[in-house]
């Protein structure tokens, strides 16, 4: 996915950071176990957040073990053992990435189409497996991506309407939670995380999209034509991102998140604003990796 939803490390306790990393490693191993070695490439911070949130809500993700890291072969790392939240996040990763690639095949130009085509082809069997496991979610993602695609094609001038299509896809991930008192806050967190991710990504792609002329929700909303006309948009986007983060944080206060609590709070209260700031100031792209470990 995108890799924007991550904790703000300077304000984290060491044990919270370790539990975050154990979940991250756990997701990597779960992807390998369920979908083969190649699917480790689908690992992302965003889906790790989903796993942590779901583990907190359902009370799993407690047992850890030591496993060798695929990226640093000589190190053994604490790693959350296979459990329901991780399985769920792994299935979601496959489904979301597959549809994102299918979408890119239609929207992108040049070499990227080739890459996306190859990726979608590589994932087709894994997708079939994942969509058998989560049929409702797979269907919702498919419909949501088509809705988003239609909105982007008609060049919709509303930032919220475009972001809503994506955010609604994320919200669907909570549809399986049985208890209403838990489901509603989780839905709100995921909806606003989705909205936040969509708008942050739109800002990140702003320059490229202005050059290539492809759809960008911020360009369409503020009718900007050059990178200089962004001053007014910047303030509005910064504010709207903060408000989504705040709404997600307020929803998280209504949940009993158990061991995941400090990590989730760190991400919602500090991780999102810090990441938004770094994307808006253009310092994210200088960092070496968007997906690797912190």
């Amino acid at each position: 996915m995108f890799g924007y939803v991550r904790p703000y490390k300077p304000e984290m306790k060491v044990r919270d950071f370790e539990s975050f990393r154990a979940m991250y490693c756990g997701l990597c191993h779960t992807l390998k176990l369920r979908y083969g070695v190649g699917s480790r490439m689908l690992l992302s911070y965003d889906m790790c957040f989903l796993a942590i949130l779901m583990a907190g809500v359902t009370g799993c993700g407690i047992k850890t073990c030591q496993k060798r890291c695929a990226a640093a072969l000589f190190q053994k790392r604490a790693c959350v053992r296979e459990d329901l939240a991780l399985d769920f996040a792994a299935d979601c990763s496959v489904i979301l990435t597959y549809w994102k690639l299918c979408d890119s095949v239609q929207d992108e130009h040049g070499m990227r189409v080739l890459g996306a085509k190859w990726g979608a082809w590589f994932l087709r069997r894994k997708y079939r497996k994942a969509s058998d496991r989560l049929p409702d979610f797979a269907k919702a993602v498919e419909q949501g991506i088509h809705r988003l695609d239609a909105l982007e094609r008609e060049n919709v001038p509303s930032l919220d309407r475009a972001a809503d299509a994506f955010a609604s896809i994320m919200r669907e991930a909570a549809a399986g939670l049985p208890e209403e008192k838990i489901r509603r806050p989780v839905e709100q967190i995921l909806y606003h995380i989705g909205r936040w991710v969509y708008i942050t990504d739109a800002w990140d792609d702003l320059e490229d999209d202005l050059k290539s002329g492809s759809y960008n929700a911020i360009v369409a909303r503020f009718a900007v034509t050059t990178a200089d006309g962004l001053a007014e948009a910047k303030e509005a986007v910064r504010l709207t991102l903060l408000q989504s983060a705040q709404t997600a944080a307020a929803a998280s206060e209504l949940l009993d998140l158990g061991r995941s609590d400090p990590v989730v709070k760190n991400i919602l209260y500090m991780g999102l604003p810090a990441m938004a700031e770094s994307v808006m100031e253009g310092t994210t792209k200088q960092r070496s990796s968007r997906h690797g470990s912190i």
Binding site: D160, R184, Q188, L239, Q243, A251, E253, L254, Y269
Partner: protein
């Protein structure tokens, strides 16, 4: 219900600790943090639970004498209805959370005045479409600059809540520590010049 568990403290906690835990939680679930939030009902439930727990503890500790918490401090007072009767139904629908019906009713109306824009903004606000909401509130304010309701709505859109800011480590203006440290600095300056501002240090 174990009141100590609700407040997240041990039964041996001192009265001050109880009060502190209660205040902390009351700030967290205060209606101000859930204005226009679809989850306001859940927050209210939490608030009720905390109030009950606190009352129970104070009652137990003072063995039946008067309860410490003043009643009704945190009841919400957000029911304003100052608009024209034509939109009364829309307001009612928004209050009850039936946003689709409210939007439909609004779009079938031919009067696109300031209140229409304000109500449209309110619908988007409840949905979490903050950018659209701000745009509609701005329209409402420029059409009717003297309406306090519209101006308040727009002002709220330009800020995040104090609770969120505090938790992300941002404080607005001078905090308590700033006041103390400025006093100390002033004292040091005075001492350098031969005077004294705070005699004890």
């Amino acid at each position: 219900m174990d009141p100590y568990k609700v407040l997240g403290i041990s039964p041996n906690a001192s009265d001050d600790e109880v009060k502190k835990a209660y205040r902390e939680l009351a700030r967290k679930y205060h209606p101000d943090n859930y204005v226009n939030n679809p989850l306001a009902d859940l927050a209210q439930e939490k608030m009720k639970e905390i109030n009950e727990a606190y009352d129970m503890i104070t009652k137990q500790r003072s063995s039946g004498s008067s309860a410490g918490r003043s009643q009704g401090t945190y009841s919400s007072s957000y029911t304003q209805n100052t608009g024209s009767p034509a939109f009364a139904r829309v307001r009612q629908l928004i209050m009850s959370g039936n946003l689709d019906a409210a939007e439909q009713e609004l779009s079938s109306s031919s009067d696109h005045g300031a209140e229409w824009h304000f109500l449209m903004g309110s619908i988007y606000l409840r949905r979490g479409w903050y950018d659209e909401a701000r745009r509609y509130f701005q329209n409402a304010c420029s059409m009717d600059p003297n309406n306090m309701e519209y101006r308040m709505a727009l002002q709220n859109m330009n800020n995040t809540t104090a609770y969120y800011n505090q938790n992300r480590g941002v404080t607005n203006g001078a905090g308590f520590c700033d006041v103390c440290s400025s006093l100390l600095v002033a004292d040091c300056c005075c001492e350098c010049m031969g005077g004294d501002l705070i005699p004890c240090c």
